[in-house]
């Protein structure tokens, strides 16, 4: 009988292996069935809502909406046409699938939906405030990471189709907030953070450099100041307020600011320095550029401009906004932004609720507090008339693009208000062609979010 049992053991072995395989298969199918269905031509998509229930995407295509209802969020939310890949719908289409393995494909009454953190009314107000100018604005709650506004111009109302896709302006089908741009003097915030981390506040505030309107560095390169007659002798606070280029060129060249340490801190901040591999943020599936620059020699023209905000430096508006959160929070840790508040499945059950996450410590809390004070002072001294009624810490910037033919205007900052902890980045492209200023956009933004 023992020999028969051996035969039975072999049979049992084969059966057990097969049954184990079948179990894996059933679990796999159960889990991945929505994914399979999304690859077929048989799917029913649900809705995307803003934080107050306003529709941002209608997968059923059955609702009626006012003209250009989706224009302000068109290139962020996107659709299922396949024309825009780096959008919320395209990257989370499986979450909108009104299908489950048990219920099958639900053609009517499916409740699969994405509830975003966006404030559609505020988004629309900011979009309208551009008055036809191009650019983008992104704002989020720096305590929770909820993206409240993210608009990019020009945009598209995807419900009108893509018949005129060939004649669309460049940048229409992407959210510029997610793309690297020349940061201009907003880059000086990163340089101030680096200087504070390297020297400490006492040494940095004890330093002063003279600006005569132009600075010739050790290699013979000249760094021009936007104020041709110069700012005279300044300390770091004055230099930030004046956005003085020669001051920062001399700061970078200072022996107390070794380049290796600057590179180290820049990398911590998220820059891809020199030949580093570019890094990206993932915001609910949407790929967002971070920052990159070239830093080779403290006395090098490109390196100095890189720390000032020109040269090879590129930073995405979202990244600029996130650094503001690390400053505003006073922790040196960025709040990671998110667009999806929660998701409901085909039955309407809530799943995938957002959780606030923070980055590693980029710089010390004392540095964060010092930079926060510098920016708040800048806001108090220079922006109380243009952004009234709000206590803001800000840094403006002007970035030369298209070989100096165009200038973009930027404003990064945060609202120092416990009730409305908002960090933002505003970009207006080719500022000379429009009468709109970043401050006006900021006022519209803060009014829409705070009132």
């Amino acid at each position: 009988m023992k020999s028969i049992r051996r035969c039975q053991s072999i049979i049992t072995l084969f059966l057990v292996i097969f049954i184990a395989g079948m179990s894996v298969l059933v679990i796999k199918i159960n889990r991945e069935a929505p994914f399979y269905m999304m690859h077929s031509d048989k799917h029913e998509l649900g809705m995307v809502y803003d934080r107050s229930g306003d529709v941002l995407f209608d997968g059923l295509h059955k609702g009626t909406y006012e003209d250009n209802h989706f224009l302000d969020i068109g290139n962020l939310i996107g659709d299922d046409s396949g024309q825009m890949e780096n959008t919320l719908v395209a990257q989370n289409i499986d979450k909108l699938n009104n299908y489950s393995f048990s219920a099958g494909l639900v053609r009517e009454g499916g409740k699969a939906a994405i509830y975003t953190t966006l404030n559609h009314a505020a988004n629309r107000a900011v979009y309208d405030a551009y008055m036809g100018a191009k650019g983008c604005t992104v704002a989020y709650n720096y305590k929770t990471g909820e993206i409240l506004v993210c608009t990019s111009l020009p945009s598209i109302d995807f419900t009108k189709g893509y018949e005129n896709i060939g004649s669309l302006e460049s940048g229409t089908l992407l959210s510029k907030a997610m793309c690297g741009t020349v940061p201009g003097s907003t880059q000086k915030v990163s340089t101030v953070i680096s200087a504070l981390e390297i020297m400490g506040p006492d040494l940095l505030f004890s330093k002063s450099y003279n600006c005569t309107g132009q600075y010739t560095n050790a290699t013979g390169g000249t760094i021009d100041c936007h104020q041709s007659w110069g700012h005279g002798v300044q300390n770091i606070q004055q230099a930030v307020e004046n956005s003085c280029n020669p001051f920062f060129a001399q700061l970078v060249e200072d022996p107390d600011m070794p380049l290796e340490r600057i590179i180290e801190i820049y990398r911590k901040l998220g820059y891809a320095v020199n030949d580093d591999k570019p890094q990206f943020l993932d915001i609910d599936g949407i790929q967002c550029d971070r920052a990159s620059t070239t830093l080779t020699n403290s006395s090098d023209f490109t390196t100095q401009w890189g720390c000032i905000g020109q040269g090879d430096t590129l930073v995405s508006p979202v990244q600029l906004m996130m650094w503001q959160s690390a400053i505003a929070n006073g922790t040196g840790k960025m709040t990671i932004p998110h667009l999806i508040h929660h998701v409901t499945n085909v039955y309407g059950d809530t799943c995938d609720c957002a959780v606030t996450k923070y980055s590693d410590e980029l710089f010390s809390p004392s540095t964060a507090e010092t930079v926060k004070r510098i920016l708040l002072t800048n806001g108090a001294n220079h922006y109380t008339w243009s952004i009234p009624n709000y206590v803001v810490g800000v840094k403006s910037g002007t970035a030369q693009v298209m070989d100096g033919q165009e200038e973009n205007s930027l404003l990064v900052g945060f609202l120092n208000d416990e009730q409305h902890p908002i960090a933002f980045c505003i970009l207006i492209e080719n500022k000379f062609t429009t009468g709109v200023t970043t401050e006006q956009i900021a006022v519209t933004l803060l009014n829409a979010l705070c009132q």
Binding site: M1, I10, I11, G21, K42, F101, A103
Partner: protein, 436 residues
């Protein structure tokens, strides 16, 4: 008949099961005219009744596997006839004929191996049969093909090697005790021959580009090999076992390394990035299963019937889509029950035990290759699911093997006039006492 009540109720159960399936088609299925459905019902129920009548003439200890066989065969007929809508075309009629052939083959298998001595004394014919089939493939099949096209029917000769290999493993098991000194090694010549034959068959399959069958042959041999290790007085060392496993791993590695491009493409294909190329069938199969859900779209209401080889290579997915994954799993359970029958009704001799293990290995590996392959768990091979997939050669050989399985549960032990050590060693101690 040992238990007529059981016989009657088992029969009723099978008829009710088929009746329920036919009713499902009637209420939820896709059929253009009721005549086709009525004809299908008549064929299925008629075949059920005919089978019971035939079975009355066969004396057996148990009929459980027989009932499972007719259950799965007519389930298969109903599935095949309802894919894409009930139809009784020539393909379905061909399938019904192959089902009848499978029943006949099962009776043949039963008769052949019920008395182990009958086959044991004729094992030279088994070796000759394997050699003959390989020769037939070499001569009759097109260059590097696995099919013989007779015009009205195509035959896959390699399928018939499977039961012969099972029998070769089982009939040579007692040779374990006959070791011969060769150089400084103790050699069992029949083991060497068997290994050589299996290696030759596998290489031949490789040459014929029928790589999907190799795991089945390997599994049959592996089950026999494991039982050889366990054979009394074999004294198979652990070192030898480790060496054997290492050799298998090495052979697999070398095989993959030198595999032709079309094989490598299947091994490493990402079906979702190539849904119109190499990943077409698998991606469509998975979409079909997802489309069907637990309870299916309804018989005949799927889309997979438009996909090539829906009735054999991806038949599990086609059934899942139209009948639901639950039904497809139930179908699998029936096949597993057939395979596990030796656990409930133990074979009475080591010969029959080895044979059952080989058959179980062949059926489970074929099921695994088809189901897991079509669902992208393992590389896609195109092997059939026994009794479910359309295909005459597979159906007949599967029937033959199940008949052998039934024989193991209803063995006949002819009395030996002269007591021989060699012969008796094949019987379990229990049977040895009975024989004495």
């Amino acid at each position: 008949m040992s238990n007529p009540v059981s016989f009657i109720f088992s029969g009723l159960f099978v008829i009710l099961a088929h009746g329920a399936m036919l009713m499902n088609i009637f209420f939820n299925g896709n059929y253009k005219n009721t005549g086709d459905l009525a004809l299908l019902a008549a064929v299925v129920i008629g075949l059920d009744i005919l089978f019971y009548i035939i079975m009355l003439f066969w004396k057996q200890n148990t009929y459980t596997v027989d009932f499972m066989l007719i259950l799965i065969l007519n389930m298969s007929t109903i599935f095949q006839a309802s894919f894409g809508g009930v139809h009784m075309d020539k393909d379905v009629i061909k399938h019904i004929i192959t089902c009848i052939a499978a029943i006949a083959a099962s009776r043949l298998g039963f008769w052949l191996v019920r008395d182990y001595r009958r086959i044991q004394n004729r094992r030279a014919y088994i070796w000759a049969g394997i050699g003959f089939l390989m020769l037939v493939i070499l001569v009759c099949c097109g260059r590097r093909s696995i099919w013989i096209d007779l015009g009205f029917i195509t035959i896959q000769p390699s399928e018939f090697i499977k039961p012969l290999l099972v029998l070769a493993c089982a009939t040579s098991i007692n040779e374990q005790q006959h070791k011969h000194k060769f150089l400084s090694f103790n050699i069992v010549w029949e083991n060497v021959i068997l290994f050589g034959v299996v290696a030759a068959v596998c290489l031949f399959q490789w040459w014929c580009r029928d790589l999907g069958s190799i795991p089945t042959f390997a599994a049959i041999y592996a089950s026999g090999f494991l039982l050889r290790i366990c054979y009394p007085k074999t004294k198979f060392s652990k070192k030898t076992l480790i060496a054997a496993i290492s050799a298998v791993v090495l052979i697999c590695g070398v095989g993959i390394y030198f595999a032709p491009d079309y094989v490598r493409a299947r091994l490493f294909v990402d079906v979702w990035s190539d849904t119109n190329g190499d990943g077409y069938q698998q991606s469509q199969a998975l979409i079909g299963i997802a489309n069907g859900g637990w309870f299916g779209k309804g018989p005949g209401f799927g889309f997979l019937h438009n996909v090539f080889a829906h009735e054999n290579d991806i038949v599990f997915a086609t059934i899942s889509e139209e009948w639901g994954l639950l039904y497809a799993l139930m179908m699998t359970v029936v096949l597993l029950f057939i395979c596990s029958s030796p656990l409930i009704f133990p074979p009475r001799s080591y010969f029959h035990g080895t044979m059952c293990a080989g058959i179980c290995a062949a059926i489970t590996v074929q099921m695994a290759l088809n189901i897991f392959g079509s669902c992208n768990l393992i590389p896609f091979t195109g092997v059939t699911i026994p009794f479910i997939s359309a295909g005459g050669s597979s159906m007949v050989t599967s029937g033959l093997m199940v008949g052998m399985l039934i024989a193991a549960q209803n063995p006949v032990f002819t009395k030996v006039k002269k007591k021989k050590k060699q012969g008796n060693s094949l019987l379990s101690p229990l049977k040895q006492r009975r024989s004495a």
